[in-house]
């Protein structure tokens, strides 16, 4: 096997990309056992999953729609990871972005769409940036662990959202009706992102793909991006090289939050057209803030790798929803399955790193052999 990889270096790349798939399949395997315990036929169930994700034009469009926020969050996660910080706060940043964007649309119902939509997306981008910058600032200047602070920021965002949607931002119709469902009024139809009728595919998907290319250019072709990556790779060396390390830590979490915020804004203008909550932590986001992390890992922490990765993960989620409806298993099955996929994908990364080290070791020893051969002259 080692000979095979030695002869075909590109096979390594394939292995790296293939590994998360294997991990996901393993997670689905465990899910199948769970289904059997609950007297559901896993073959029928996963058939429904495939059909739900790819079975028709509509299914495929839904997969792309689901992939959109995942891709944007994953871009944010890539920036954070490359900058050496872990952003678990995508959930909260996404909520803040969605809230801010909704607020723009509700405040200016009379203005034309070509003014409001860009303004709302920018506002959402900034709101997410603020929610990401706070833990970044605390990390950079007060040494507060960003994993913990971002989790707390998520919880604060959820409660803030619940309050806003129950009281000041609630749909006036809901206020009159006794139901008081916590949601805002529907935004003016003039603000809907262009849609590929009759599917639900909207322009946001295209924007997200463009964003992926922009993030790639930013990280690898600009000085600011270079500094972020330098700090992520080696903060000490960066400091000696004169890079302001704390400022770049703030910047990576700020930008990371900004893309999560943009994801929230696009969810509102492309898909929901209003903000809503079911009171729970994952009701509005559908765990996109967490799943984006897995997508980023799937895509090898590369902005362009995140594009196919988000598509696959979107398919998994759309398919799982179909599975849940067809098999009549409680929706909590999806959350549990989601957790399994996260665990399996991060766990499987072990083999990628292990083989990467062995590969490096082989390259080094080969170089040593060739250089030794040259020495006798």
């Amino acid at each position: 096997m080692q000979d095979f990889f030695a002869k075909h270096p590109s096979a390594w790349r394939a292995f790296d990309i293939f590994l998360p798939f294997l991990a996901t399949l393993a997670a689905l395997g465990v899910g199948a056992i769970m289904l059997m315990v609950f007297d559901a036929n896993p073959l029928v169930a996963y058939g429904a999953l495939l059909e739900g994700a790819f079975g028709s034009t509509n299914a495929l469009a839904d997969t792309l729609v689901k992939a959109t926020p995942l891709l944007l969050v994953a871009l944010g996660i890539c920036i954070a990871f490359r900058g050496g910080v872990i952003n678990i706060g995508g959930e909260g940043q996404l909520i803040l972005g969605a809230l801010a964007a909704t607020l723009v649309g509700l405040t200016f119902p009379e203005l034309p769409g070509y003014v409001v939509i860009p303004a709302a997306l920018i506002f959402g981008f900034f709101a997410g940036a603020v929610w990401g910058a706070i833990p970044g600032f605390l990390k950079a200047y007060f040494n507060v662990n960003e994993i913990l602070s971002t989790i707390m920021m998520n919880a604060i965002a959820v409660q803030g959202m619940n309050y806003l949607l129950r009281e000041p931002m609630i749909d006036p119709d809901q206020l009159e009706a006794a139901s008081r469902i916590p949601q805002t009024a529907r935004l003016s139809a003039a603000f809907d992102l262009p849609r590929l009728v009759p599917t639900r595919l909207h322009l946001g998907t295209g924007l997200a793909i463009i964003a992926a290319f922009l993030v790639f250019i930013f990280l690898w072709r600009t000085i600011v991006g270079y500094r972020i990556r330098a700090v992520g790779l080696n903060p000490d060396a960066s400091r000696y090289a004169g890079i302001n390390v704390p400022r770049n830590i703030v910047l990576s979490l700020l930008l990371s939050g900004a893309f999560c915020g943009l994801a929230g804004a696009i969810q509102i203008y492309g898909l929901h057209h209003r903000m809503f909550t079911d009171g729970s932590a994952t009701g509005f986001t559908g765990s996109a803030g967490f799943n984006g992390i897995v997508v980023a890992l799937f895509g090898q922490l590369h902005p362009l790798g995140a594009i196919p990765a988000s598509f696959l993960f979107g398919a998994l989620i759309v398919g799982a929803n179909k599975l849940q409806r067809v098999m009549q298993v409680p929706s909590s099955f999806i959350i549990a399955l989601n957790g399994l996929v996260v665990v399996f994908v991060v766990g499987a990364d072990y083999w990628r790193r292990k083989f990467a080290r062995r590969r490096e070791a082989e390259v080094v020893s080969e170089e040593l052999e060739t250089s030794e051969a040259e020495v006798p002259t």
């Binding site: 605390l138 040494n143 989790i151 309050y163 129950r166 957790g339 072990y350």
Partner: protein, 310 residues
């Protein structure tokens, strides 16, 4: 209306609930302290608590035996701790992310099992208050401290036990060595993975008990997302407590008192939106973290998987 908070009955009520509500924090955070001292951050405490809470509740509901319920939570917690160890220690996963996976799994799985086995919210009669002879008769103090149930007393008892094990035993020394300088510990023949497996399984067991303390000793009910963020705060409490059992005790009490106050504010109908009341502990956690980390340095190897010769 605010004045109503300052009557003796209400104050005693708040303090007594505060003492009681510290229980889940104590179990979960003390368990997590062991893990973090050995260098492993288990962010999945919340998910394990939920599974433990369900296991304890369902077993008690079926068998009507609280101790069997507690045992079920211990077993489930131990198995989950083992899973965490496999992922974080053997597979060296990124601990911040694997913990979220464990959390989502516990959140979904506990609800799924609840839906499939029970479906409707039921209650059990949990551990009854144990009146400590003589002490419970002291006015005010007796009511606050000595009329709690056995799970509460045990939680507080765990503080000196944890302090003793971590600070005064060989095992504790090994745990601290592995968390501070795994290379040196390894050189001296301490099994880094072995120690971390022990602390993670112990942490899982303690998280399971923390969940059980909610479902069969304090709230005596199981419902979706019963723990609602307690497990995440418990992880932060370990940081706040400076990785020391006594610090964890102080942090747990501060937070449980805030929780108790929040409950009574709602009971007395004081007009603060409940969302803000729920939000308070998280804001407090961030502030607490800012204060705490200026004083103590985390274990040097925390969140860093150990590689021999690496």
């Amino acid at each position: 209306m605010i004045a109503e908070l300052f009557t003796t009955t209400v104050l005693v009520g708040i303090l007594a609930s505060g003492i009681r509500l510290a229980t889940p924090y104590l179990y979960a955070a003390l368990g997590e302290t062991f893990g973090q001292r050995s260098g492993v951050l288990n962010l999945g405490v919340e998910g394990i608590m939920l599974l433990g809470a369900f296991a304890a509740f369902y077993t008690t509901f079926i068998t009507e035996n609280l101790w069997l319920g507690l045992l079920a939570a211990i077993l489930v917690g131990g198995v989950m701790g083992l899973v965490v160890a496999i992922i974080n220690v053997t597979l060296k996963a990124e601990q911040g992310i694997s913990g979220i996976g464990i959390y989502l799994f516990g959140l979904g799985m506990s609800e799924l099992l609840f839906q499939k086995t029970m479906g409707t919210v039921e209650t059990v009669s949990g551990f009854a208050p144990v009146y400590i002879p003589f002490l419970s008769d002291i006015p005010i103090l007796g009511e606050i401290f000595f009329q709690q149930n056995i799970m509460v007393y045990l939680a507080y008892l765990m503080v000196p036990i944890a302090w003793f094990i971590l600070g005064k035993t060989t095992l504790g020394l090994k745990i601290r060595a592995v968390g501070e300088n795994p290379e040196a510990a390894d050189t001296l023949g301490v099994s880094v993975s072995g120690v971390r497996y022990i602390t993670e399984i112990f942490g899982g067991v303690m998280s399971g008990i923390a969940g059980a303390s909610l479902s069969i000793a304090i709230l005596n009910v199981f419902q979706q997302n019963l723990t609602s963020g307690l497990g995440f705060i418990a992880v932060a409490l370990v940081y706040f407590g400076g990785w020391r059992p006594v610090g964890v005790l102080v942090g747990s009490l501060i937070f449980s008192m805030v929780n108790a106050l929040q409950l009574w504010v709602q009971v007395l109908n004081i007009p603060i939106p409940s969302d803000f009341a729920v939000m308070m502990p998280y804001v407090l956690t961030i502030l607490a973290l800012i204060v705490a980390v200026q004083r103590v340095r985390p274990p040097a190897a925390l969140t860093k998987p150990y590689e021999r010769g690496g």
